[in-house]
Amino acid sequence: MKVTLIDYGAGNVTSVERALQRLGAVSQRSMSPECIAKAEALLLPGVGHYAALIRALEERGLRAPLLDALQRGIPFLGVCLGLQALYETSEEAPELGGLKLFSGSVRSLPASVKLPHMGWNQLKLIRPSRLLEGISADAYFYFAHSFAATDANGESVALCNHGTDFAAVIEKENIFAVQFHPEKSADAGARLLQNFLAFCESH
């Protein structure tokens, strides 16, 4: 089983790749529609501006093969922007449409707290999670973002709070996504990636 990393030029692809290598996983980077169509498992890392990710998916013709793969049940993990991209729209770039797998939008966290939400935070568990299996309930994960999915949490298995509750971990059938960076979240992050790889293997 090989994980295909959707490489649209995000800064954290190398970190994600390295984190997977440490777990003994085989991965390849790709930005071709053909590779995504043939992928056994997909990982969409993302950091920076929402528009850069959505535009890259459009320009490289990746939107259709990605949506098709998700519908066929290919295991998918979205990281940070890779979670935000699953919703309808984002306040960060209202003119662009997201992948629309989940209803609702991505909004700015409130100005009453320091932004970006930067650093290590804990999760509020909503229901049992495959990604969080074996991870202590008080574990910390590393976040670095100013926007979040705040109003559509039916698919959330865990929330985080920074000024307001927002989706931190999403799981729906073969679709997984996290707002934090597991590749930067020490042992807890490594275990989460391992859980995703285990799901991919058993799938």
């Binding site: 800064g11 954290n12 190398t14 970190s15 390295r18 984190a19 440490r22 950091v47 920076g48 501006h49 100005a111 320091k114 932004l115 970006p116 939400h117 930067m118 650093g119 290590w120 935070n121 804990q122 999760l123 509020k124 910390y140 590393y142 670095a144 973002h145 100013s146 985080c160 709070n161 920074h162 960076h181 590749e183 930067k184 979240s185 020490a186 042992d187 992050g189 490594a190």
Partner: protein, 254 residues
């Protein structure tokens, strides 16, 4: 449940080796950056900062190689800086494996640099490093390694930097740097009050009490130190247990 206060070891390098010295005088070798990075990653550091304090053009490839080797050891975020003057400089550092870049003197000279970096990499990747020194009733921004005054108010510069797109402020007290007398609490509290982004306090740390004070009274979001960690004066693990006993939220390593 809230954001943990971060403890950040800093590696000042001459490009290849970790060096130390007060105010850039009498630099001496303090170790291999890769070995130190691996140690801090294992001890529960929340992030690592690597700076090229020589920042000379011809040593640049060496520094980038150091970043690549350090990044390979880490499962925590990495910030790199020193001598970043252009978008290309920042891109090279991020491609080498850094999650964030710091800008200092070059941003004072040309503040638009902050916006350019923020547009390209996102605010969360842009750390504005401010070296501040008390002058009369205010704090002046110092440049070129804390030696020259930029004749500009540190609080105003912090606010301007955030408006331009900085996502974090790395605040070094030039008065306290290297003294081990404790962080500059009034300076940090003042900057933290005016800045809407997280503030990393730096300069003067020695005792665990210094860290407790900068988080409680200084309202710092993170605290950075170098030689006390390199020289084993303070272990990160013990420091975090000390802070936790003071009800200061930290991420305890397992």
């Amino acid at each position: 449940m809230s954001l943990a206060h971060r403890i950040i070891p800093c590696l000042d390098t001459d490009g290849a080796r970790v060096v130390k010295g007060v105010n850039f005088v009498g630099l001496r070798d303090a170790g291999d950056p890769v070995a130190l990075a691996a140690r801090y990653n294992a001890e529960g550091a929340d992030e690592l900062v690597v700076l090229d304090i020589a920042a000379s053009r011809d040593r640049r490839p060496t520094f980038l190689a150091t970043i690549r080797r350090v990044a390979a050891e880490l499962a925590i975020p990495l910030t790199a800086g020193g001598g970043i003057r252009t978008l290309d400089d920042a891109r090279a550092v991020i491609r080498a494996g850094a999650d964030k870049v710091t800008v200092n003197t070059a941003a004072v000279a040309r503040p638009e640099l902050i916006s350019e970096l923020s547009r390209e990499f996102g605010a969360q990747a842009v750390v504005l490093a401010i070296d501040a020194k008390r002058i009369g009733d205010h704090w002046d921004v110092m440049v070129r390694g804390g030696r020259d005054s930029a004749n500009c108010d540190a609080l105003a510069w912090a606010q301007q930097g955030v408006e331009l797109g900085a996502g974090e402020i790395l605040l070094t007290s030039v008065d306290r740097d290297g003294t081990q007398l404790g962080f500059d609490t009034p300076l940090t509290a003042a900057i933290s009050r005016v800045a809407s982004v997280p503030v990393i306090a730096s300069g003067g740390a020695k005792l665990p009490e210094h860290f407790a004070q900068i988080f409680s009274e200084g309202a710092a979001d993170a605290a950075l130190a170098a030689s006390i960690f390199h020289d084993n004066v303070q272990s990160i693990r013990e420091l975090k247990h000390f802070l936790s006993a003071f009800n200061i939220e930290v991420r305890l390593p397992c």
